[in-house]
Amino acid sequence: MAASLYLTLYTWNLRTGVLDALAANTGLEFVSWVLRPGKWAADKATRLWDDYFHLVDVQQDNRRLAEAVDKLSLDLAALREEAAEAVRLRKLLDYAPPLSWTVQGARVIAHRLGPAGALDTVLIDKGGLDGVDVNVPVATPGGVAGRVLRAAMQASTVLLVTDPNSKIPVVSRDHRTTGILSGQGAGEELEVRYVPLNAPLDVGETLVTSGLAGIFPKGLPVAVVSGIERSDISLFLTVRATPLVDYNSLEEVLLFTRAPGSEPGQDPESLPLVPPQDNATIPAPVPAKPAPAAANATAAPAKPKPAAGAQAPKPAPKPASAKPQDRPAPGN
């Protein structure tokens, strides 16, 4: 009797997610409120300590930063020119306008908690009231951190890239080789699956999100290829990658939510990583390295129409036959 009642409850929740939402909006919310003050106090104390020691080298830092600003200003001017050119070319090709994403910052409150914390996750202080929902991409200025697995009102659980259940469609920045990036556990290297044996790929090449599943914006850096092995018995290369983010010391993250009016999966266009600007809406500009238009053809509904006389874009390497698993785990 009790067993059948339990099974009914369990399967009903798997189908509807009602109890998960209830637990998130009560339990997770309560936990976030318990941890928040302590975390705030610890951050303040750490910052005070750091500021004191940083004052010692502040002049040297100022000089170094001023030089960096000069260099970045030059880079910015050059990139602005390229961005303007890309907009003109896009218009020329009648290309669909890119999606707009809203970027907001969030603070990491805790890592995995409790006996049901079987997955590699972190708890952040933004939730449904801030527009955060399941599958919202999470990144840092260094690279992708993961995606939201469960959202309460003012807190969310983020599944990290290192978890074996995290699967992200990626493309190599230089050779445009596609694959599925999968975690191997905390502290371990990542694995890129379904990379064909003859695919061009170099060690040291940066892997960025391909935007194929319509969850992550295209062009966010995720990892760097650290090893490539050719197997005699497999149709695919064995590719290892090092994550760009130190997941053990995550303190602040960026959340990418879609701006109102943009539908998921419509057009996962390029988006460079930018710092948070108090919920600023960022029209996705040009990526650091422009991708061939067809690289995202499977996900973009609007096909680029080549202008008269223009050469058709070269088709990108076919993505892996495996379907990217970007949906959350059942019930989550």
């Binding site: 339990y6 409850l9 369990y10 929740n13 798997l14 109890l19 998960d20 209830l22 637990a23 998130a24 909006n25 009560t26 339990g27 997770l28 919310e29 309560f30 936990v31 318990v34 941890l35 302590g38 805790a110 890592h111 995995r112 908690l113 409790g114 006996p115 049901a116 914390g117 079987a118 997955l119 590699d120 996750t121 708890l123 697995l149 469960r150 309460a152 659980t157 599944l159 074996p164 259940n165 556990g185 905390a186 785990a329 059942p330 019930g331 989550n332």
Partner: protein, 172 residues
């Protein structure tokens, strides 16, 4: 709501507090402990202490609160924590036929059971949801769970006896 009051029979000050406040403080401390030791349940010993004190209603509401809290902060679908606490209470009730309920060996056996039970539950629930937990980390956390449960029970039992207000003397 602090309840420092004096005994009429002596001049000693009673520092005992209402059990609700005691358990609320325990939950807050438990959440912080779980923050520092991921994957380990620091709340479970409270249910055993309540059972040993024959506090049925406290056991029920504490179990309900723990289930909601742990499910909320976890990453599996709702349901595993019901089996987790139910398994622990069943083993406790069954073990009372053989052991004295406050026997340290008995508590250690419950801790070992929890370690094994956690491995079985996480593997089972993860399989049902098509997930893959990390086996090495899971085994380490199971061992930690067994040790932490036993030691924490001793601490909570002493603190409860010392600081929670008792209207009636508990029976063994």
């Amino acid at each position: 709501m602090h309840t420092a009051h004096t005994y009429t029979s002596s001049s000693r000050v009673d520092h005992s507090i209402h059990p609700f406040l005691f358990w609320l403080g325990f939950i807050l401390a438990g959440i912080w402990a779980q923050h520092f030791v991921p994957g380990v349940d620091f709340l479970a010993p409270a249910l055993i202490v309540c059972q040993q004190q024959r506090k049925v209603s406290a056991t029920v509401w504490l179990a309900a609160a723990f289930i909601v809290l742990q499910e909320g902060m976890g990453s599996l679908a709702f349901g595993s924590l019901i089996l987790w606490y139910a398994g622990m209470l069943v083993v406790y009730q069954a073990g009372r036929w053989l052991f004295e309920s406050r026997n340290f060996l008995f508590i250690f056996i419950i801790g070992v059971f929890l370690g094994v039970w956690r491995y079985v539950l996480v593997q089972m629930m993860a399989n049902l949801q098509n997930l893959a937990p990390e086996p090495r980390r899971l085994i380490l956390e199971c061992v930690l769970q067994a040790v932490v449960f036993t030691l924490e029970w001793g601490l909570v039992f002493l603190l409860y006896k010392r600081y929670a207000r008792h209207d009636d003397e508990p029976r063994a």
